[in-house]
Amino acid sequence: MSTTLEPYQQASYSDTASLYAPTGFSQSGTGEATDPVFSTSPFLAGVVCSFHSTDEIDLPKMQGRTKEFNILTADKWFFVIDTPIHDGYCIELTTPGHVAFGRFWIVEGNPKQRPSYGVIGGNYQKVLARRAPKPAGIT
């Protein structure tokens, strides 16, 4: 995988992440909802990226206060265009010294992609992701 950064990305892509891909889902005998199953270790580690966290706005719900998830409140991750990142993937922030080091996010939806056309800009893809407790299966 190429992780070639455009010159304008050199300074801002200062984060690293580990990526986990869902390997399928299980189905219980009673058909209850089940989570996607992740492999125990990342399929890619040390992936260069740029992490942008957002404000947390919570609203009262029956099960507890819940963070609103929309285009304004979703955390945003920028990866180089050829990074394999898709809907449902799990991201672990591994930037040394980051306050959220070791936390996990689940990607919501496929990435918005902007290839490089040989001019300044582009060469990136953006995914929205929801911070989540450590998914089962990941060690």
């Binding site: 219980s28 029956m62 819940t66 936390r103 911070r131 407790p133 089962a136």
Partner: protein, 157 residues
């Protein structure tokens, strides 16, 4: 002025006792108003809260007179049993709900302060209020709901 016996705290004790005895795997149960002040996902992430947990929701209706000397309040109670989709816990949500249903309807009544007058719902579908939110927010959790109507009363002498 007649003196009254204050049953209200024991109503909650009855409800919480039902949870601790019938759902021993549940570490925490909360009134809805408390959980609505706490970010549950953050608590789960920090390990302060673990699943399954239960939220007790009550709708208090207007009081009624039952005979000359009795005042009765009607309460719609719902227990929401909230579990992670990846919990690996074998019993199904319906099984856990059925266990509570049997307890609520058992004879003699296990409750000391309330009388159950109607079983409202056993619902682990996408329609209960917690699951509606879980689906809207794409949360990997599913809840079963057990609801019933009960009365608590006082004799005004």
């Amino acid at each position: 002025m007649p003196s009254f016996t204050n049953y209200w705290p024991t109503v909650w004790e009855d409800l919480r006792l039902a949870i601790t005895t019938q759902w021993p795997e549940v570490a925490n149960n909360f009134r809805a108003i408390q959980m609505e002040k706490l970010n549950w996902v953050n608590l789960l992430e920090e390990g302060t809260l673990v699943v399954p947990y239960v939220v007790i929701h009550i709708v208090a209706r207007d009081s009624q007179e039952w005979g000359i000397q009795n005042q009765v309040w009607e309460l719609d109670v719902t227990f929401y049993y909230i579990n992670a989709d990846n919990s690996g816990y074998a019993p199904s949500l319906e099984e856990r709900c059925k266990t509570m249903q049997n307890y609520v309807l058992s004879e003699p009544s296990p409750f000391s302060s309330i009388q159950v007058i109607n079983m409202l719902t056993v619902d682990a579908t996408e329609a209960n209020e917690v699951n509606v939110i879980n689906l809207e927010q794409n949360m990997k959790y599913t809840a079963g709901a057990v609801g019933f109507t009960c009365i608590v009363g006082e004799t005004l002498v």
